[in-house]
């Protein structure tokens, strides 16, 4: 059940992340344009003010020169410096705490921090410069508030998206859980009847000593149902913590022996190439189920008279069979997924999802190759 929850959780997170990414993009563009337009507007405002001051100062200059008295009395806004220069002298005034200070030297203005309006066309050149300190402070505040509201919006939308998609996905999750539950109930309920068929079949064979094709057929199918039940039971099993040393060559030999009747029935050629003798650590039952599923698939999906090759070397174990191409190599590991070409081949689409689950538990990589009439599953430690 936990695996099921994880699947939905990750789907939910993926959707939420995607939506958050989109919202983030839109928010960034919007915030940046709001910021830029505000900044440009402020600059234009200051420039306009500077121009007004320039025009006012111009009024203070008459034919006799600069009217200093009037100039001192002029109501110069804070942060603004005005410099008037003729060919010989420069005079600058600055309002610092409502006190106009004079300096005969030209005040050095760093261009970046000032917005300057100047005109040199007359006998006097007049420069009006307003410090951007104030504006920069405002812009900084603006940036903070935009950032703050963006984060707020992102958080809020994330929360909303997460809960909305949780609700939207709930019915899907419920139906998957239900399917899983029903499968477990059915499998539980047929465990005892199958045991009864199995034990009575055993008694019938031992007691009567009859060797009949009919009994063999029943036995074969009882075995198949038993294997299926094992897989279904395993779907909900929690990962095992047991770590015993498992010889891969031996386990594969044992499994092949079990599948021998099926192999002969389909007239398959089975080749086992043992290039190495790898030992993996884990629960024997897990590895038995892992390789049983892969070998079972290789046999089931092989053409009659086809070939199954198992190659064991130090780095990988691969199981190859001749058979129809796998259409979707990613989806084959999904629970209950079956390829259309599976047709009437028995199965409910849990085998490979169990293979994946076991591989994940032991940090094994499983790859699929399907080309030129060959299907290969490779397990890499």
């Amino acid at each position: 059940m936990s695996k099921e929850l994880d699947e939905f959780h990750s789907l939910r997170l993926k959707i939420v992340l995607f939506i958050q990414f989109l919202i983030f993009l839109v928010l960034s563009i919007m915030s940046y344009s709001v910021y830029l337009s505000y900044k440009n507007q402020r600059i234009a405002e200051i420039q306009e003010n500077n121009k007004t001051i320039y025009l006012d100062i111009l009024q203070l200059i008459d034919s006799e020169g600069v009217n200093l008295k009037k100039l001192i009395n002029y109501n110069l806004p804070n942060n603004t410096t005005v410099c008037i220069a003729d060919r010989a002298n420069t005079v600058c005034i600055k309002n610092e705490d409502n006190f106009i200070s004079f300096s005969k030297q030209s005040t050095k203005l760093e261009e970046e921090s000032y917005i300057i309006y100047s005109n040199n066309s007359r006998a006097y050149s007049i420069v009006v410069a307003t410090s951007t300190k104030e504006m920069r402070k405002e812009l900084k505040k603006l940036r903070f508030s935009i950032l703050f509201s963006d984060i707020l919006v992102l958080g809020l939308s994330g929360f909303l998206a997460y809960s909305v998609f949780g609700r939207l996905l709930e019915p899907i999750k419920r139906s998957r859980d239900k399917l899983n539950q029903i499968l477990q109930i059915i499998s539980h309920d047929i465990r005892t009847p199958i045991s009864i068929i199995d034990t009575n079949l055993y008694l019938l064979k031992v007691k009567s000593g009859i060797k009949s094709k009919n009994l063999d057929n029943i036995e074969k199918n009882v075995k198949y149902i038993k294997a299926l039940l094992k897989n279904i039971g395993y779907l909900n099993e929690k990962p095992s913590n047991k770590r015993e040393e498992i010889n891969i060559n031996n386990i594969i030999k044992e499994i092949l022996e079990r599948f021998n009747p099926l192999i002969q029935q389909k007239r398959l050629t089975v080749i086992v190439e043992e290039k190495d003798n790898p030992v993996l650590k884990g629960d024997y039952v897990d590895f038995d189920i892992l390789f049983s599923n892969l070998i079972d698939n290789a046999i089931k999906y092989s053409y009659d008279g086809g070939r199954v090759e198992i190659e064991i070397d130090g780095k990988s174990i691969s199981i190859t069979n001749t058979g129809p191409q796998i259409a979707d190599k990613d989806k084959v590991f999904k629970k209950y997924y079956r390829e259309e070409s599976s047709g009437t081949i028995p199965g409910i689409g849990v085998g490979l999802s169990i293979v994946k689950k076991i591989c994940n538990n032991y940090n094994l990589k499983v790859d699929v190759y399907s080309e030129n009439g060959l299907n290969r599953f490779t397990i890499r430690p």
Partner: protein, 220 residues
């Protein structure tokens, strides 16, 4: 060995009983957890096969009651519940092995033997007495190297005497171990069976099996 099957499904109960009888065991079977507890109190079984979902008293409780009362009889749980938690719970209440349905019959038989051997820490299954060789595991008796035909009941009596060498086995113990709970044999029946057993193993002089008159029998 003497085995009790506790399984509520009558058909499975019957077929299991038949299979274990074919393996040469003496088998009692019940379908209710409470009946199981009553029998376990009365009779000393060598092994109990216990289902979990039972009417009356579930398998976990049966096992718990057994262990609380100091009954050390090995328990093999045989159940349709195969989840790890259920298995762990089974072991927690005192099960010695846990088999999930559907099972492989040879595996079930092998596990029953393995659990029995492990719990009773039996080292050797082959016992040699003069010219008599008894393989307790394969349930084979050889007299002077030749295999002797022996019924499960007689083998059971022989097995009990061999496993308790030096001790006197009373009529009650023998009846409890080698007859089904419903049978209740008289001491005459046991005496007749002992006579048969002596004939089968060629012990007419009562050299191997000693009679302790009025009490029971013993193998030195």
């Amino acid at each position: 060995m003497k085995i009790l099957i506790v399984e509520d499904n009558k058909e499975l109960n019957e077929s299991l009983r038949e299979i274990l009888k074919m393996e040469g065991h003496i088998v009692d079977s019940v379908t209710d957890g409470r009946d199981a507890v009553i029998l376990i109190n009365k009779i000393q079984y060598d092994l109990v096969i216990l289902d979990i979902m039972l009417p009356g008293l579930d398998g976990y409780s049966v096992a718990k009651v057994m262990r609380e009362r100091g009954v050390k009889t090995p328990i093999v749980m045989l159940t349709a519940l195969g989840q790890l938690e259920e298995k762990l719970r089974g072991f927690q209440v005192g099960a010695d092995d846990y088999i999930v349905k559907p099972f492989e019959i040879p595996e079930l038989i092998a596990r029953i033997n393995a659990v029995y051997k492990r719990i009773n820490s039996i080292q050797s299954d082959v016992i040699q007495l003069e010219d008599l060789t008894v393989d307790l595991n394969r349930r084979v008796v050889l007299k002077g190297g030749k295999e002797v035909e022996i019924t499960p009941k007689l083998f059971c009596i022989l097995e009990q005497l061999l496993r308790n060498r030096g001790k006197v086995l009373t009529y009650e113990i023998i009846a409890g171990k080698c007859w089904e709970a419903s049978e209740n044999p008289s001491s005459d029946t046991i005496r007749a069976n002992m006579k048969l057993l002596r004939r089968v193993i060629g012990d007419k002089e009562k050299d191997i099996i000693k009679t302790i008159s009025g009490v029971g029998y013993r193998i030195e």
